[in-house]
């Protein structure tokens, strides 16, 4: 077992974990942060995407011990009380989700895309979300959501949450 200390959604946590434990398992099973979900075994689907020090990572691809000393933001740390993050708001506004299983990862990735391209083109959005699979929306409204977020919140769409 290895002791780790990290900040998750603004809370400082300290824990003993098995060295092989994945960050996504740590978030879900030890911290009960079930907003982050697992959709595949091969880091293809992106459903588990979270932010590690403000950049998106697939949390099934990161060991919990690698997060030691770092800041993690999950979907549950994005909204400020009842006030949604602009990208969350955009997904609701543009119907950027249906079953919602890919949505937490998609939103976290979208924020990363907007951090890199505050006023992205449709192609930049499509390429930026390529690592996140959705089976419901055909991506049409997801792309629209990200463009909407860029348009309606300027350069602040990417930043936010507990970063």
């Amino acid at each position: 077992m290895v002791r780790i200390s990290l900040d998750v959604d603004g809370d400082h946590v300290s824990d003993e974990v098995e060295p092989r434990m994945l960050l996504v398992q740590y978030l879900r099973e030890k911290l009960g942060k079930t907003g982050t979900v697992v959709g595949c075994d091969t880091s293809n689907c992106g459903a588990c995407t979270v932010h590690l020090d403000g950049r998106s990572v697939k949390s099934c691809n990161v060991l919990a011990v690698q997060a030691d000393g770092h800041e993690v933001t999950t979907i549950e740390g994005l909204a400020d009380g009842d006030e949604l993050h602009p990208v969350q708001e955009a997904f609701r506004e543009c119907h950027g989700l249906q079953c919602g299983f890919c949505t937490p990862g998609m939103i976290m990735q979208a924020i990363d895309v907007l951090n890199e391209h505050p006023q992205p083109t449709e192609e930049e959005v499509r390429l930026g979300l390529e690592g996140n699979l959705c089976r419901c929306t055909g991506y049409h409204n997801i792309v629209k959501s990200v463009l909407y977020a860029a348009e309606h919140s300027g350069s602040t769409a990417g930043a936010g949450g507990a970063q």
Binding site: G32, C45, F101, C136
Partner: protein
Amino acid sequence: MTATQDRPTAEIGRDRRRKEDQRLITGRTRWTDNIALPGMLHLAMVRSPFAHATITGIDTEAAAGAPDVVAVVTGRDLADVQGSIPTAWNITTDQKSPPHPAMAVDRVAFAGEVVAAVVARSAAAARDAAELVDVDYDEHPAVLDLKKAADDSTLAHPDLGTNKSAFWQFDSAGAGTGGSIDEAIEQARSGGILIEREYRQQRLIPAFMEPRSFVCDPNGEQLVLWSATQIPHITRFFLAAVLGIPESKIRVIAPDVGGGFGGKLQFVPEEIITVLVARRTGKPCKYTETRSESLMAAHHGRDQWQRLTLAADSEGTVTGLKVDLLCDLGAYAGTVGGGVPILGAFMYNAIYKFPAYQFNCTNYYTNKTLTDAYRGAGRPEATFAIERLMDELAAEVGVDPLEIRERNWIGHEEFPFSTVAGLEYDSGNYEAATAKAKESFGYDELRAEQRQRRESGDRVQLGIGISTFTEMCGLAPSRVLGALNYGAGGWEHAQVRMGGTGKVEVVTGASAHGQGHETAFSQIVADRLGVPFEDVEVLHGDTQISTKGYDTYGSRSLVVGGEALVRAADKVIEKAKPIAAHLLEASADDIEFESGRFSVRGTDQGMGLAEIATAVFAAHNLPDGIEPNLDSEATFDPVSFSYPHGTHLCAMEVDTETGEVRMRKYTCVDDIGNIINPLIVAGQVHGGLVQGIAQALWEEAVHDEAGTLVSGSFVDYLLPTSADTISFDIDHTTSPSTTNTLGTKGVGEAGTIASTPAVVNAVVDAVRHLGVTDVQMPCTPERVWRAIHADGAGGSTEGAAMPHFDDAEPGRDSTEGAGA
């Protein structure tokens, strides 16, 4: 009173943002895998690596001794209690079905079949120990090829003596719905046009994003099962049947479910194993599959060979269609797997006036994963075949593919129209949808560009694909299901419960898995009762709350479930009316109800539904003999199907040197009747389109020669990404359905059904001038390149002669009662 006149307008038709989204976008969702109960144990499955083998021994000792392992359970341990997994659809009375144990006892029939389960205190410990279970197999020859299955030279189940499950035929001459196919073909041979083609519907994987997950708590008064399923009510029925305990002792909860597409429309081995192990250990148990397990063992879709013979006169007017199908059921008969091609049987004539039609279908077992319902179930296969054939007919006649469709389709003035397959189409306007799509797409301009590229010999050629489709939704009138040997009904149940404050609880048996029922159903009830949208709460997916239902599939939720809701809401109004009359001191005959308010005709006296609800709650002053209760329920069994239709146009660019294809434009105009929520409808269309496009271009479940799934992860099974797809132009025409009050038709499958042929037609159209008449799906660059560069071109990329098709059994008639 027509459907449209009766339709209130305040909420229906409005772009309401979804009620569901708040929890889904903030990560407060109730997925089954999120459930953690005190003392809960975790299961890991041990699966057969072989497609067909005898189990000669299982050594569980090492696994049982591993850290945190509580038990290791084998098929032999469960043999006495597991029974056989039931199928709901034996398509003929003499259908052959091998026993289907949840856990293999002495023989496995496909790679991925469960042979043992490890039960441990953590999921990780269970998975670790599963590696230690040592299974000895004696491998047998496996039948993996559908065409080879037909000759019975290798048997998927030796005890069955044949691979054939059932033969099913529909013949229009026999059914009295049309003429003789043999005569039509004979006439076409002498002076007409005869088109014979063979198409392959490759095996697909539904690949819902949320892996299947089951949690069973065996310890309360009731056995409770949380399940990532589309069918909680049907699951409860199956569980009661398999366990031999009353339904009242079983509660099935489908909390938030992360997609289904038909892929969660099965009662599955892993589900019953979780329940049996929970009962055996006396502890809550959870099983969540990995993605690899999901792709390997959750059911697959499609997997058919279609042989088609289209007869027409020299002008391109179709005189008959004959369909011969081979269908791969996989290793066992699934919940509705055998019936999937039957759903398609009624759709091969599509929107056209065929004078003669014959459909012959043979289902076979192979040593592969089961096939079952997948988005559209039977109807995409049918639509693909006929829309490809219409393009081939147009090429033969030498006219534009749109022209050939116009020569054959049902005119809008001809509705209602009885089809050669025995259905009565209630409404539709193919001319209007096509005209609108053509204009929005820029059809003539793109045709001009296509000509220019052909003339200049451009390396990148442009193709235009057309798909005019219809489907049968609102599954289904119970009497029709009965006539088709389906084991269940097609009604739906709803309750409307009035709270004392005037807030409304709505309960539906149509359990949702992401389609937005909570929003759309709130809109319907808000309009019907005249209460605010926010005051309606929709409950579903828990058999303890929605005590009756037939769940969600076949675009039935709104058409059947929505209509049940309307009827339940109307009963609330009827119950409130005499109370309103009493409180307003008027005659019930003088009471009118409009927009949530009861008023005395010709006066300004009145009171709202909420006030009456409060009065009923208090029950201080009610008419004599009236019970203090406004709650109502309704069960709606549709009298007929609904028939959405549409025209889809697709432009594809094909690089003739590399075979690479790229979508340039996609325009569709769907007629789905009245629309409750345009925002939700658009989302359903977008998602459906990409699932259909994916069959045309990318997706295919591939097994190797040993029967192992090669496309066993998202690395190999190519789901489309945001970078592979484009944004779509979608629009609607409206011919309200006349078979339900709302005038709705259903939209969940439309995009998938229509888009596959539109894309393949476009790919073939781009290179038809190079001699190509077919490219089998998925249209990978290699297949496209080979089609272009094949010697003499002109042919399909695979699948030559199919001698065994001649062995079909035209003499047998198992269609008694078939047809609507």
